[in-house]
Amino acid sequence: MAVVFDRVGLSWRGPLAAAILSNLDRIDVIELMLEDFIDASRAQLGGVRLLRQTTPVMVHGVSLGLASLRPVASRRLDRVARVVDAIAPESWSEHLAFVRAGDIEIGHLAAPPRTQATIEGTARNVDRAATVLGARPLLENIATLVDPPGSDLDEGAWVRETLSAADTDLLLDLHNLHANATNFDFDPIAFLDQIPMDRVRQIHIAGGRWVTHTVDGLAERRLLDDHLHDVPDPVYRLLVEVAARASGPLTVILERDGRFPMTSTLLRQLDQARDALREGRGRAQPAAEAV
């Protein structure tokens, strides 16, 4: 019987440092924000290497803007490479987003038009990044509050074709999927059926909140992925579905960026993720046994 070693961990945030370090027996893996270490001193990077000796570490970036028709600037790739070289993580990841256009900094992750052109642009940027960093990034599906203008593909098809063209694997953010499915009225399970499950290697879970606006005289509301709230039940249910479909080991990371709850609440959410993985693996097939 094949044994699948799934892992569950937390994204590192300064205010969570004590909670993480005092509970490493319940945290399998830690994700570091790449941009937190761009200007890090040798001593700070040395601290991360010490942490890495006890716990597997992955790095996660938000600033490259790989899903763009424009080539990512070499100086940005060089700065990211310095961090990745110094930390030597298990893997590095970035988002399926563009974050700037020339001198215009959007300030966060924007969904590109879902088209063949942006698939090819993303693949070119992933190639450039892989050449500089020596490893291909996992790519993460993003949450978007706007249905990306100019799109002629749905999200599932665009993600599937982008992973294929870029020849890389997926960091599947389940709250992003839940938020997009809620805001744009599609079935998240159908999305899971569209993407290649053998390319799903990491999972993000997080929470969000409703935001409202009056537009054209109509009250509108959308679900915002803000990482400031507990993981909602639909995200755990999606995790069960992913675990039931994926054949390879999964690493699940809980992302929390603020309004930090009690440590016990964070640890309980990690336990809920483990339970969801176990349930999905149990439902999967007799060939795989969750650990």
């Binding site: 215009i104 038009p113 509108e220």
Partner: protein, 82 residues
């Protein structure tokens, strides 16, 4: 399809509240004034108007929150000097 020029136009919509207001009032004229050609303008015909408002507001808050720590650092440095 998409173009570098279209990508830049989206970035402007997400970061320039005045441009977004003009676009929502008259999408095709505003897009033409920004240099989009007929094909690029056709991609905006069924644009998610509410989504543009939500997205630009959310991006604006993110940009503001990134500026805050810099301001705090600046204040901290000068508090220490004087």
């Amino acid at each position: 399809m998409s173009t570098v020029r279209f990508e830049r136009f989206l970035a402007r919509l997400y970061t320039d509240a005045d441009l977004l207001r003009r676009f929502l009032a008259d999408p095709m004229t505003t897009a033409a004034r920004c240099g989009l050609d007929d094909t690029e303008r056709s991609w905006l015909r069924d644009v998610d108007r509410a989504g543009l408002v939500f997205a630009s507001e959310s991006f604006g808050r993110k940009r503001a929150s990134r500026r805050q720590p810099l301001l705090r650092r600046f204040v901290a440095v000068f508090r220490g000097r004087f």
